[in-house]
């Protein structure tokens, strides 16, 4: 690819810079063409370019309902997941480093098991219990499943953050200064892992906004099933909804980078 030097001439007499731009261009087209097509499909109408689909989507009560539902589910998932993963990863790093490969393997398992199988498994396991007998129970079951599928992302992010700041030594330093476990956790561990936790949180957030299988099998009014439902009735609105959802996800990631940069600048 001729990436060894810039501004130089490669074997065929073509500037190496040319190849760099060519590959970048191909990647950009691959990435952005479907997006451009989506936007185009959502604004094109027989009477010209119109933003009606967006207006209708944003005005539809179900949009706000389903988006609010999924956002709430995502936030609860993130809180539970972080509360489980941070102490676990910390404890494994500090006291049971030999178990790290096992824990890493366990956290990857949810990626390997298809959500369809996991949901059926959960339904069968909890059949005829309060979890499957009421809508509230199904909601709790969905949250449980979301927490499970968030583990790989949350654990990886937190573990990477932990390795970057050498929490083991920081913990010992805090202890030698008289800090109790609670103080160590709240004043040393969590503040120093904040960026890592946010990292895992935003990935989890984006994933749950787009999650379809679990929520639709458990008959929950989530965002993604609504999008599918809409696409079967109003293609232009469904596409507009897709564009909005991508914009929201990008917004989340930008927010993450902003917070991350601020944190790095500060400390």
């Amino acid at each position: 690819m001729g990436g060894e030097s810039t501004g130089k001439v490669g074997k065929l007499g073509i500037p190496t810079r040319f190849w760099a731009w060519l590959w970048l261009g191909i990647a950009a087209v691959y990435l952005f063409l479907p997006l451009v097509a989506m936007v185009w499909a959502s604004i094109r109408s027989p009477t010209g370019i119109r933003l009606d689909a967006y207006g209708e989507v944003l005005r539809a009560p179900r949009f706000l309902e389903t988006f609010g539902f999924s956002t709430q589910a995502a936030i609860i998932t993130i809180l539970i997941s972080a509360a489980l993963v941070v102490p676990t990863a910390y404890w494994v790093d500090l006291k049971l480093p030999r178990l790290r490969p096992l824990v890493e393997f366990l956290t990857v398992v949810p990626l390997v098991i298809p959500p369809l199988l996991m949901t059926f498994g959960l339904i069968r396991l909890f059949n005829n219990t309060p979890l499957t007998n009421s809508n509230q129970g199904l909601y709790i079951m969905m949250l449980g499943a979301y927490v499970i599928i968030s583990f790989p992302f949350m654990y990886r992010a937190v573990d990477a953050g932990m390795q970057a700041v050498n929490l083991r030594v920081l913990t010992e330093a805090a202890q030698s200064l008289g800090a109790s476990w609670i103080t160590v956790l709240t004043q040393v561990v969590v503040p120093n892992l904040l960026v890592a936790i946010l990292n895992g949180s935003f990935v989890t957030f984006a994933m749950i906004l787009g999650e379809f299988t679990i929520s639709s099998l458990l008959n929950q009014p989530a965002f993604s099933p609504y999008m599918l439902d809409l696409s079967s009735r109003r293609g232009d609105q469904a596409t507009a909804l897709g564009v909005i959802s991508i914009a929201l996800t990008w917004g989340s990631i930008s927010l993450l980078q902003l917070v991350g940069r601020k944190q790095t600048f500060k400390g």
Binding site: V169, E172, A173, S176, L177, A179, N192, L194, G267
Partner: protein
């Protein structure tokens, strides 16, 4: 009675014995250094004093209080780590006052102590900076201030200079020693660097394979190593294999050449080890020295203020150090020379390691 007492300490990690038969009493205000190669157990002993590890056997007392089972955060022991370990999310001032805040000290006392500590480490005006805005040497000084801010009973330094470059290492070790003297702080310092240990300590504990090899003042350790391990670990000592020729006259043979020494030893023809400091040998000048060995120069190393001459006896090598004085004439490689030294300079080393002192 020592201020810090380690009595019959043994530490096992699974089947491995990291420390055994370790006895030590440290006086109040004393600066003691644990010196030894990596894996000798020196850091493990330090971590047991800090409360991060619990001895498998034995007890630890600080100021007559048995702290063996007391957790680290209840010991009032200050610790400085090799990796600085400053909290990256806090400013220098917040790092320094962390221990005081944890103890519930009021704001005014915290502020006053931060100022005192910053003045002590000559870093006034750095309070609002974050650790990543400081150099390695500055970070380690802040770590020292943070450990001292809580007015610990004992200060523990775990290879605090190892991550720094050579020049800062020397200046910071002088600073640490000056602060320690000023505060009369009982200090335990861990290092694998013998020069560091010799220059900074009141007393050195040389460790090997989890045991104490020798303890004593730096001059004793350097001038009178008692075991082959200490002799080889401290300085650039010549450690030579010898054979007893005449126990009554304390005569030995090294590579077939006879020399006299002052040590006690057993019957004839038993093998033993002799140490000779490179700087106690004179080249080609008998000057009334009792011993004179014939050797051939193999190589000459210029080390700045010192020139080291590597000479060969028959089988074994001897290093001779001489000051790089103006007008110094040096032999050439291949030249025959005589190595002259006193009987007292050739020290017979004990065969076995000391288990304790």
């Amino acid at each position: 009675m020592g201020f810090v007492r380690l009595i019959g300490i043994r530490k096992e990690f699974g089947a491995a014995v990291a420390v055994q038969n370790f006895h030590l009493e440290i006086e109040a205000g004393e600066f003691v250094t644990f010196l030894g190669p990596s894996g000798c157990g020196k850091t493990t002993v330090l971590r047991m004093i800090a409360g991060f590890e619990r001895p498998t056997q034995g007890s630890i007392t600080i100021a007559d209080q048995d702290v063996t089972a007391v957790p680290a955060n209840k010991r009032n022991v200050g610790m400085v780590f090799q990796q600085y370990a400053l909290f990256p999310n806090m400013t220098v001032a917040d790092n320094i006052q962390f221990g005081l805040k944890v103890r519930g000290a009021d704001k005014r006392l915290c502020q006053q102590r931060v100022e005192e500590m910053l003045a002590l480490i000559h870093m006034e005006g750095f309070g609002k900076r974050y650790p990543h805005q400081l150099s390695g040497g500055q970070q380690q000084r802040v770590a020292l201030a943070r450990a001292l801010a809580i007015q610990p009973q004992v200060l523990l330094l775990d290879e605090p200079l190892s991550a720094l470059d050579a020049k800062i290492r020397v200046s910071l070790r002088q600073e640490i020693r000056a602060i320690q003297r000023h505060l009369k702080m009982t200090t335990v310092f861990v290092t694998h660097d013998q020069e560091e240990a010799l220059s900074i300590s009141d007393r050195i504990v040389v460790m090997n394979q989890g045991q104490v090899e020798q303890m004593g003042k730096p001059t004793d350790i350097y001038n009178h190593p008692q075991t082959p391990f200490v002799a080889s670990f401290i300085g650039t000592l010549n450690v030579l294999e010898a054979e007893v020729v005449n126990p009554a006259e304390r005569a030995l043979a090294i590579d077939g050449q006879i020399l006299t020494t002052v040590g006690e030893f057993e019957q004839a023809s038993s093998p033993l080890t002799v140490s000779i400091r490179p700087e106690s040998i004179q080249l080609n000048h008998r000057n009334g020295h009792a011993n004179s060995l014939q050797a051939t120069v193999e190589d000459i190393y210029f080390l700045g203020s010192i020139v080291r001459i590597r000479a060969r006896l028959q089988r074994q090598h001897v290093n001779v150090d001489t000051f790089n004085k103006p007008g110094l004439t040096l032999p050439s490689p291949g030249e025959s020379v005589t190595l002259n030294f006193d009987a007292a300079s050739a020290r017979v080393l004990q065969k076995k390691s000391l288990s304790s002192a």
